[in-house]
Point group: C2
Chain length 199, copies 2
């Protein structure tokens, strides 16, 4: 039984990861279940054993991506070897590096889906907002710590700054996909760190 | 002949406007030509008289949208009754009002398509970049005038500030679609006008 449920877990994970991989490039509407099945070698019947619908599949892909992304956020934003300002910079530098290595393709799965699906599926919009709101809370906490340590300007509320940081970062990633260079990310980092966050 | 070409122009414009209307909500991939034909009552053969393909249709939709948006940008950013800083604020206030009246739905057609299509069509990516780059130039010009008038900080290059302004604004619109409120736009405007642009 343990072995069987282990295999099931592997199958489900491979569907989620193949789905995320295709969806981050092609979007929700342009991703076919058939394509995911072909990429994983999983039969159609099995897909519907794990997922009620394509919408349910995308919801679980977002959760799966959230788990990995939350680990990444913790790694950077709770790194006690760095001060809060350095942590935010390290997060941006890592994102910039990853995007550059990927020729500024794809961007962020959650950003992409929030742009595409917020008006098309209330289920996905609510899930995306839940995830983005939690991520923003982590930025807000880090900014608050920076404010308390007098490393970040206290002129504005940390939650508002986190909202600005998050939407600006997602906007810069979106722009970089279209410019196909890191200029928008560089502008974001310069103005964010040398102006907005500066005490 | 004049009358015939006038009718043709009307038909083409109605296809472009119906296409823009559907595409801004559903995205490129989820918009069917059939749906556009049904919305306009234009027969399929006529569609292919005006457009070579769906990609060509989207390219011309972007051009059509660009014409209207450029008029709007001129209206706000070249309004000599206001100083350059007030012009940027008026532009943002109008965008915020329009988004709010539309229950934070749809957002910007060009922003949506750049998120969805930049990795899926080099033709559309290049067109979107051409348009966005031109719009950014208008923001840069207004920021430069504000810097010259000592109303906007000259600490950073006006082109970099325009890039930050544009990507931050698009990011805030994208976030507002998911939060379904104007909080991301409010955070953008507060931090942009009370911090980044402040002399």
């Amino acid at each position: 039984m343990a072995r069987q449920s282990g295999t099931k877990e592997v199958t489900k994970t491979s569907l989620l990861e193949a789905g995320a991989c295709i969806m981050v490039t092609k979007g929700y509407n342009n991703t076919g279940i058939q394509e995911v099945l072909e990429a994983t070698g999983v039969p159609k019947g099995s897909f519907y054993y794990y997922f009620d619908s394509k919408e349910d599949f995308a919801t679980q892909i977002i959760d799966h991506f959230d788990t990995a992304q939350t680990e990444k956020l913790k790694l950077f934003l709770e790194d006690r070897k760095l001060n809060p300002l350095e942590r935010l910079k390290a997060y941006c530098n890592a994102g910039r590096k990853a995007l550059k290595e990927n020729q500024c393709r794809n961007g962020c799965l959650v950003g992409n889906l929030s742009q595409e699906m917020s008006d098309q599926s209330e289920v996905l919009r609510a899930k995306l907002e839940e995830v983005l709101s939690r991520w923003r809370g982590r930025f807000a906490q880090c900014i608050k710590e920076g404010q308390d340590a007098k490393l970040i300007s206290s002129k504005f509320d940390h939650n508002m700054m986190a909202e600005f940081f998050q939407s600006g970062w997602h906007g810069a990633i979106m722009r970089a996909k279209t410019t196909k260079n890191t200029v928008p990310l560089d502008a974001f980092m310069t103005l964010m760190f040398d102006s907005v966050l500066k005490p």
